[in-house]
C-alpha cells in the first residue's frame, strides 16, 4: 500500500517538475536581467561587399559620334553601349561590321528601308524581337542560368523581350551571367510617326507568347489578313515567328506586352514602352533603348524643346510567381505550376524595379543626371500590378501628355506626386530652374514611388524603385553620387537583402543598433535549472524500473 502511494507521489512530482521546467525555460530565455546581451558582429566581415561601380566601360560615358550618329554623354556608372545606340539608330543593315560586332545585335535585327516621304530618314523599319528567360533553371547543377541581379544577390526569374542578337546568351563562354543586351526591362521601341513598322516576334522561349500594341495605332489584321492585335487566340508557339504591322498616325508614349496568360506573363516582365515620335525631316530616332533610361540620341522634336530625355519604366515582381521557372525544367510542369497550381488572384508584389533594377543598382544606370536650368522630358510608364505615386524630392514637374495624348493648356498640371494607374503613361517636363517651384537648387534629390512598399525589396528598405535625380557636379568620376559612401558598404551587399545584416551595421551607432546577442543566465540559476533537470530524469527512471518490476 505504502509502495503504491510512493509511486503515485513520484509520478505527480515528475509531472510538476516538467511543468516547472517548461516555464522556467522560457523565463531563462526571455529574461534580460540586469545585463542585456552584448551586440554581436557575426556578419561584420564584409566579404560580400560589392564595388558600388565596377567601371567596366569608362569610354562609353563621353559624348561621341559613331557611324554619323551623335550620342549624348551619359556620366553614370553603367552607361548604355554607344555602338548598340548607333546600330539601333542607323539600322543593323547600315553600319560597319565593327560597329555591328560591338553592338552584339544580329545583322537582321533592325533593318531600315525606304524613305517614303523623302525627308531624309528611313520610314520602313523591320524590328525583330526574341524572348529570353533570365535567372532560369539548369538541369546540370544547383545554379541558375543567364543570371541577372535586380539588386545584390536578388535573382527572380524574368521573361523579357530582347533585341535579336548574335552569339551567346551569356557574358562569355565560361560565365553564367546573362549577356548585357539581355536584361530587364524589355527594350523601349521608338519610331517616327507615319513610319511603316514591321515587328517580328521570333519566339525563342519554351511557351507561347504574342505582342499586343497597347495604344499604338494599328489595324486589327496585318496585310496578309492575319492577327495583328496579339491576342491569346493567336499565340506564337515556340520556334515560330509572326510579324505585326503598324503605321502609327498618332505620336505619343504607348506600350507593348504579351497577351497570352496575360496576368502571369505580364508580371514575369513581358512588357515595354513603345514611343512614337513626331515626324520631322532628317529624324533618325533611336529605335531601341536597351534597359530604358536616358535616350542618348533624342528625336528632332525632343531635341528642339528639351535638353534631355529619359524613359522611366516602373515594374513589380511577385516573389512566388518568379520562383516557378526555377523549380522545374519540364515546360509542362512550369505551365501547370504557373497557370493552375498558382492562383494569380492571390499574387503580391515583392520587388519594385525602375528600369530593370532595384536600389542600390538603380544608382548605376537609372539615375537622372541634370545640369542647372535644363528642361528634361520624362516618359513615365506604370507596368506594375498596382498604382504608383511617383514623387521627386526638391522638384515640381508638369504633365505634358496623358497616355500618349498631349494635355491641353488647362490640363498641364504642375505637381510633386504623379499617380499613375497600371498601364498608364505620363509625359513630364521637369525643369531644373532654382526658383523655389520647379527646383529647390542643386542636390542629389531622391525620386521614388511614394506608395510606401515601393522603396522596399522583399520588405527590405532601402530598396525598390528608389533612384536619384542627381545634379552633375555632385557625382564622382565614376558617376556615383557623392556623400553616399557610408551607405554603400551596407547596401551593396547581398547579405543585406538576404536579411542577414542589421540595418545599421556600420558606423558609430553599429554598437547601439546592431544585432543583440544571446542572453547568458546567471551561473547559480543555470546550476539550479540543470539540477532540476537531473532530478526529473532520475524520477522518470525510477518510475520505469517500478513498471518493469511489476510486469515481471
Amino acid at each position: 500500500m505504502l509502495k503504491k502511494y510512493f509511486i503515485f507521489g513520484a509520478g505527480l512530482s515528475a509531472l510538476a517538475l516538467i511543468i516547472l521546467l517548461i516555464q522556467w525555460f522560457f523565463v531563462l530565455e526571455q529574461h534580460a536581467r540586469a545585463k542585456p546581451p552584448a551586440t554581436v558582429f557575426s556578419n561584420a566581415d564584409n566579404a560580400n561587399v560589392e564595388k558600388p561601380c565596377t567601371d567596366d566601360h569608362v569610354e562609353w560615358r563621353s559624348a561621341q559620334e559613331i557611324e554619323g550618329v551623335s550620342i549624348l554623354a551619359s556620366p553614370v556608372c553603367e552607361p548604355d553601349n554607344p555602338y548598340t545606340i548607333a546600330a539601333a539608330t542607323k539600322g543593323t543593315n547600315n553600319v560597319s561590321m565593327s560597329t555591328l560586332m560591338q553592338s552584339h545585335l544580329a545583322q537582321d535585327s533592325i533593318v531600315m528601308g525606304e524613305d517614303l516621304d523623302h525627308d531624309g530618314d528611313p520610314d520602313v523599319i523591320h524590328i525583330k524581337l526574341e524572348i529570353v528567360e533570365l535567372n532560369g533553371f539548369s538541369p546540370d547543377g544547383d545554379y541558375l542560368m543567364n543570371t541577372y541581379n535586380i539588386a545584390p544577390g536578388v535573382q527572380p526569374s524574368l521573361w523579357v523581350y530582347a533585341p535579336k542578337m548574335q552569339g551567346m546568351a551569356v557574358k562569355n563562354f565560361n560565365s553564367r551571367v546573362a549577356h548585357p543586351l539581355l536584361r530587364a526591362p524589355s527594350p523601349v521601341i521608338r519610331v517616327e510617326q507615319g513610319d511603316k513598322v514591321f515587328i517580328t516576334l521570333e519566339n525563342t522561349h519554351y511557351l507561347p507568347h504574342t505582342i499586343h500594341l497597347h495604344g499604338v495605332d494599328h489595324p486589327w489584321l496585318n496585310s496578309e489578313g492575319q492577327d495583328n492585335d496579339g491576342m491569346e487566340e493567336h499565340a506564337i508557339f515556340p520556334g515560330k515567328q509572326h510579324t505585326y504591322e503598324i503605321q502609327p498616325r498618332h505620336a505619343g508614349t504607348m506600350l507593348y506586352h504579351c497577351h497570352v496568360q496575360t496576368a502571369q506573363h505580364f508580371m514575369m516582365g513581358l512588357n515595354g514602352m513603345f514611343i512614337v515620335e513626331e515626324n520631322r525631316p532628317n529624324n533618325w530616332v533611336q529605335t531601341l533603348n536597351i534597359g530604358a533610361g536616358q535616350v542618348r540620341h533624342p528625336s528632332a522634336s525632343v531635341k528642339k524643346q528639351y535638353d534631355q530625355e529619359y524613359d522611366l519604366h516602373y515594374q513589380s515582381l511577385d516573389k512566388q510567381l518568379t520562383r516557378i521557372p526555377q523549380e522545374a525544367n519540364d515546360p509542362r510542369l512550369i505551365s501547370q505550376k504557373m497557370s493552375r497550381d498558382y492562383n494569380m488572384s492571390t499574387s503580391t508584389e515583392n520587388y519594385f524595379l525602375l528600369n530593370g533594377h532595384s536600389f542600390p543598382y538603380t544608382l548605376r544606370d537609372a539615375m537622372i543626371v541634370a545640369g542647372e536650368n535644363e528642361n528634361i522630358k520624362l516618359h513615365i510608364t506604370n507596368l506594375q500590378r498596382t498604382p504608383i505615386a511617383v514623387h521627386f524630392h526638391g522638384h515640381k514637374a508638369t504633365i505634358m501628355a496623358y497616355d500618349g495624348v498631349d494635355a491641353q493648356q488647362g490640363t498641364q498640371i504642375t505637381r510633386d506626386v504623379f499617380d499613375i494607374s497600371p498601364a498608364q503613361r505620363l509625359d513630364l517636363s521637369l525643369k531644373t530652374q532654382n526658383d523655389g517651384l520647379n527646383s529647390y537648387g542643386a542636390g542629389l534629390w531622391m525620386f521614388h514611388d511614394h506608395v510606401p512598399t515601393g522603396t522596399t525589396t522583399d520588405g527590405m528598405e532601402p530598396g525598390g524603385n528608389m533612384a536619384i535625380l542627381a545634379y552633375k557636379k555632385l557625382l564622382d568620376e565614376q558617376g556615383m553620387p557623392k556623400m553616399h559612401e557610408g551607405m554603400f558598404n551596407d547596401v551593396f551587399n547581398k547579405e543585406y537583402y538576404a536579411k542577414k545584416r542589421p540595418i545599421w551595421s556600420t558606423g558609430d551607432f553599429a554598437f547601439l543598433l546592431g544585432d543583440a546577442g544571446l542572453v547568458v543566465p546567471e551561473n547559480g540559476e543555470l546550476i539550479a535549472f540543470f539540477m532540476v533537470c537531473g532530478m526529473l530524469i532520475g524520477l522518470i527512471m525510477l518510475l520505469i524500473s517500478f513498471y518493469i518490476k511489476k510486469r515481471s
Binding site: Q107, L182, E202, N329
Partner: protein, 223 residues
C-alpha cells in the same frame, strides 16, 4: 596632380582599347557572317599538334528544331541526333540545318584553344537555312559538349555530345541518353501496376508466413 593622373588613366585606357580592338579584328578574321548567320573558328586545314594526318573524313548533317523535341517527354527544342562517334584525328564536315523560324546555334566546346579561340566552334543560323563548316579533332579520347547557347535551349533539350575515340563518359541531361544532375519532380503513378502491386504484397506475405511456420516447426524438431 589629379589631372595628370586622369590624363594618364585616359591614355592607358585608350591604348588598351586599341589593343582590344585589334584583337577583336583578329577574331573577325576567324569568322564569316552574313544576314543568314555566322560561322566562328571553322577549321578545314590545320592539324592539331598531336595528329600526323587526318584519320577519317566524316560528313555530318545536324538538324535543329522544335519538332525534334516531340520524340522526348518534357523537352521543347532538340537536335535530330544526340550523339556522334568519330575516330581520333577525324575531320568532320558539318552541315547545320535550322528547321525553325527562330535563331539556333550549334556549338562544340572544349576544343584546343590554339586552333579554336575560347575552345569552341560556333555555328549560328538567324532563321531557317543551312551552314557548312569543318572541324579537325585532336587524338585525345574525349566527349565534347554540343549545344545551342540561346537562353534555355540546351536546358529544354537542345544538347548533344560528340565522342572522339569512344569518348570519356557521358555528359548529363542529354535527352533520352543521360540523367540530369538536378531532376524534375513528378507525381508517382501508384496504379501503374494495376492490382499487381496488391497481388505481390499478398504473395510475399504468404511466403513470409509459411516460412515462419516452417522455421518454428524446424526449431521444435531440433529440440
Amino acid at each position: 596632380m589629379k589631372n595628370n593622373y586622369l590624363r594618364h588613366k585616359i591614355k592607358v585606357i585608350s591604348i588598351l582599347s586599341i589593343v582590344i580592338l585589334s584583337l577583336a579584328q583578329v577574331s573577325f578574321a576567324m569568322m564569316s557572317m552574313d544576314e543568314k548567320g555566322m560561322v566562328m573558328n571553322a577549321n578545314s586545314d590545320n592539324l592539331p599538334k598531336d595528329c600526323q594526318k587526318i584519320s577519317e573524313e566524316v560528313n555530318l548533317t545536324v538538324h535543329a528544331g522544335q519538332k525534334y523535341a516531340t520524340k522526348f517527354n518534357g523537352k521543347m527544342f532538340a537536335f535530330d541526333q544526340q550523339e556522334w562517334n568519330v575516330a581520333p584525328c577525324a575531320k568532320i564536315n558539318i552541315t547545320f540545318i535550322n528547321d525553325d523560324q527562330i535563331r539556333h546555334q550549334l556549338m562544340i566546346h572544349g576544343l584546343p584553344g590554339y586552333l579554336y579561340p575560347e575552345g569552341m566552334l560556333h555555328l549560328e543560323l538567324y532563321g531557317q537555312g543551312e551552314l557548312h563548316a569543318s572541324v579537325i579533332l585532336p587524338s585525345q579520347k574525349k566527349t565534347y559538349l554540343v549545344h545551342c547557347e540561346l537562353a534555355q535551349h540546351a536546358e529544354k533539350g537542345m544538347k548533344a555530345q560528340l565522342k572522339v575515340g569512344g569518348g570519356d563518359g557521358d555528359l548529363p541531361s542529354i535527352p533520352a541518353l543521360s540523367a540530369p544532375v538536378k531532376t524534375d519532380i513528378y507525381t508517382l503513378d501508384w496504379m501503374a501496376m494495376k492490382w499487381g502491386g496488391i497481388l505481390i504484397l499478398l504473395v510475399s506475405f504468404i511466403i513470409f508466413y509459411v516460412g515462419r511456420v516452417l522455421f518454428l516447426r524446424y526449431l521444435k524438431m531440433s529440440n
